[in-house]
């Protein structure tokens, strides 16, 4: 199979997955009881039967569910129209976009830190296999893996706000809301410390474990023995021969983890009342704001699917074996 065929297959898979997600998202929220028209106009507002019917027609709710409503809804989604939030009374797409940046900031800070630390520590643990350092890092990974993300957040929140004087939550101090981003940057960073720390601890363990087992596998290869026989020092072998090859599974893991990362954002932002997509998702769930939940899920799923496809593309350029399967 050539590289082009491989990538075509990946694109096809992404398209199929996208249509599955879109269908689930439509069906789930379409079958929910409750009258969307009633929800949009709000409780207690009295309107006549004719006005209701007019609204229903305007939303296309008088059409058959399939295919008319389905096609219409998906068409609107494609144009970026994700519906109208019941609780915030604003278009869902607009709300999501206003929170996207904050979440990206948190996720990238957490990912970068945990990847760098995880790769470094995993490499070290694999190299010093069966020493005390290895056992310690293995124990840490296992414990970190077993700790629920949100509970770790709660503990760090309790410690950080009581003894370290760090903020208990939010994106910035209330007095700084609405000011330009760069003016309040120090405040933003102060609020980022605890959520980022939680993120890093949660994902560090897994990256470390995968890196360690990947390093172990690579160090068992014959070319490592050859490199060592050439007289290279351990450090040179690790840097030139082991690191690059052992990094490959990490690339896949980053992609596979994206879904997991998104879930992490929901928990961490909830605990730290961080003003991002994750907290929005939790609030939509809490207040049963279904259009908002539907739109947020769509955005999260589509992002993860596309990022996965992108990771496959990167992977083929990194791994020469895949380049010419």
């Amino acid at each position: 199979m050539s590289r082009r065929d491989y990538l075509l297959r990946k694109v096809l898979l992404a398209l199929i997955t996208l249509s599955v997600v879109v269908t689930i998202d439509f069906v789930l929220f379409r079958v929910l009881p409750g009258d969307p028209v009633r929800a949009v106009i709000g409780r207690g507002v009295r309107i006549s039967k004719e006005q209701q019917d007019a609204l229903r027609a305007q939303f296309g709710l008088d059409q058959p569910v399939f295919p008319d409503q389905f096609v219409a809804t998906v068409g609107q989604w494609l144009q970026g129209n994700l519906g109208f939030s019941w609780t915030l009374r604003r278009p869902v797409g607009e709300i999501l976009m206003s929170k996207l940046g904050n979440t990206l900031l948190l996720i990238s800070a957490g990912q970068v830190l945990s990847i760098i630390l995880g790769v470094g520590l995993g490499l070290f643990a694999g190299w010093k296999r069966k020493t005390r350092i290895d056992v310690a890092s293995l124990t840490f990974s296992l414990v970190a893996w077993s700790v629920p993300t949100f509970w770790l957040g709660i503990i760090l929140l309790a410690i950080g706000s009581t003894w370290l004087g760090l903020p208990t939550g939010g994106f910035v101090e209330p007095k700084n809301i609405g000011k330009p981003f760069f003016e309040v940057l120090p405040d933003v960073l102060r609020h980022l410390i605890l959520p980022t720390l939680t993120y890093t601890v949660v994902y560090l363990g897994e990256y470390m474990l995968i890196m360690r087992s990947s390093v172990l596998e690579v160090l068992g290869e014959d070319y490592i023995l050859t490199a060592k026989a050439k007289g290279l020092s351990h450090w040179q072998v690790l840097r030139r021969h082991a690191l690059k090859n052992a990094m490959l599974p990490i690339v896949t893991l980053i992609a596979l983890n994206l879904g997991f990362t998104v879930a992490g954002a929901i928990y961490i932002e909830t605990v730290f009342s961080y003003d991002g997509l994750g907290q929005l998702f939790q609030q939509a769930l809490d207040k049963k704001d279904f259009p908002l939940l539907q739109g947020a899920f769509l955005l999260l799923a589509v992002t993860v699917i596309l990022a996965n496809m992108l990771a496959d593309f990167i992977y083929t350029t990194l791994d020469p074996r895949v380049r010419q399967v």
Binding site: T17, V21, L28, L216, K228, V237, Q282, L300, I305
Partner: protein, 322 residues
């Protein structure tokens, strides 16, 4: 029959011989057994009824009472005993974790065996479904599914719904693992022989494939249970649990929603989390050790120690036949 019994006994004895010397495995088993005991003996361990509000002399509810005022773990926001909640919560958390784990294992094994054994279009179809499910972010999907289904009024209890959603969505890794094992088993001599003497698919799967993948399934189930317990705690924390039968995750949801953190009520939010870590760590340790024993891997590498390295490496490669 007796011959097979002897074989099983010998295998178990061999397994026990290896397992006994494994410290990680023993710790894991200890953690898991103690939490199971807590769930089973909850009514005996708990001094109060789970819904009972503890009152002071004036008849007022003792809310957020620290430990030692009346009990080992104090009271929650409604004046209920935290230790009692914890013991009964063990039942809910473990029941959901185990049942969802078994369900996910059953689905994953079934799909893995069918895909690996039959191959062809069945394999292609099942593996494409697996690929699709693998890419969709699972926790958000579970959240919207539970949220939507709870609103539908189809008569499922929240706990049953959680078991169903976790079990039916979290099987992709099991399916892939089992499939690859079955693929290699299928090519072995004993399967070819059984087929040659006219054995049907059902017979071959039941008598030849299943017994061989069973150890892998068992090890994987223990690991899946730990994931299921973690998933449940997360969903329950977001308020998708059953408030009338609180699991450890639901307890944390209460603690968080009712400001236990700002009030400094550590006895309310620490124990449920520690319990989740306890059980999850137990399952993870035990599962990893089981997998290691049943599915041995590389034991050394080329940079490990200076002296005798080459000699040992060559002995090992000779032993493994490469």
């Amino acid at each position: 029959m007796s011959e097979r019994w002897i074989l099983l006994k010998r295998n178990l004895a061999e397994f026990w011989r290896v397992f006994r010397r494994n410290r990680m495995g023993k710790i894991g088993a200890f953690l898991l057994i103690t939490s199971l005991a807590m769930a089973i003996f909850a009514p005996m361990l708990a001094p109060y009824r789970p819904t009972e509000t503890i009152r002071d002399a004036n008849g007022r509810g003792l809310t957020f009472a620290p430990p030692s005022v009346h009990g080992p773990l104090g009271t929650d926001d409604a004046g209920r005993d935290v230790w009692t909640q914890l013991a009964y919560g063990a039942r809910v958390s473990m029941a959901i974790g185990f049942l969802a784990g078994f369900l996910s294992m059953a689905v994953g094994s079934l799909i893995g065996i069918a895909a690996g054994y039959f191959g062809g279009w069945i394999d292609t179809l099942l593996m494409r479904i697996t690929d699709v499910l693998l890419v969709i972010p699972d926790i958000p999907l579970m959240i919207v599914l539970v949220a939507a289904l709870r609103n539908l009024d189809i008569g499922f209890s929240p706990i049953f719904l959680l078991i169903l959603v976790i079990g039916l969505l979290y099987w992709t890794s099991t399916a892939r693992l089992i499939r690859s094992q079955v693929l290699s088993l299928k090519e072995r001599q004993f399967v070819a022989r059984a087929r040659a003497i006219g054995a049907g698919h059902g017979h071959i799967i039941r008598k030849h494939i299943l017994p061989q993948v069973m150890p892998l399934i068992v090890a994987n189930t223990v690991l899946i249970i730990s994931v299921a317990i973690l998933l449940e705690s997360g969903l329950a924390f977001l308020g998708l649990g059953d408030p009338t039968q609180p699991s450890w995750g639901t307890m944390l949801n209460f603690a968080f929603a009712r400001n236990a953190i700002t009030r400094g009520a550590w006895w309310f939010y620490l124990p449920p989390g520690l319990a989740i870590v306890w059980v999850t760590l137990g399952c993870t340790l035990l599962g990893n050790v089981l997998e290691e024993i049943l599915n041995p891997r590389l034991t050394s590498h080329h940079l490990e120690s200076e002296a005798g390295m080459v000699a040992r490496a060559s002995v090992e490669s000779a032993a493994s036949g490469t």
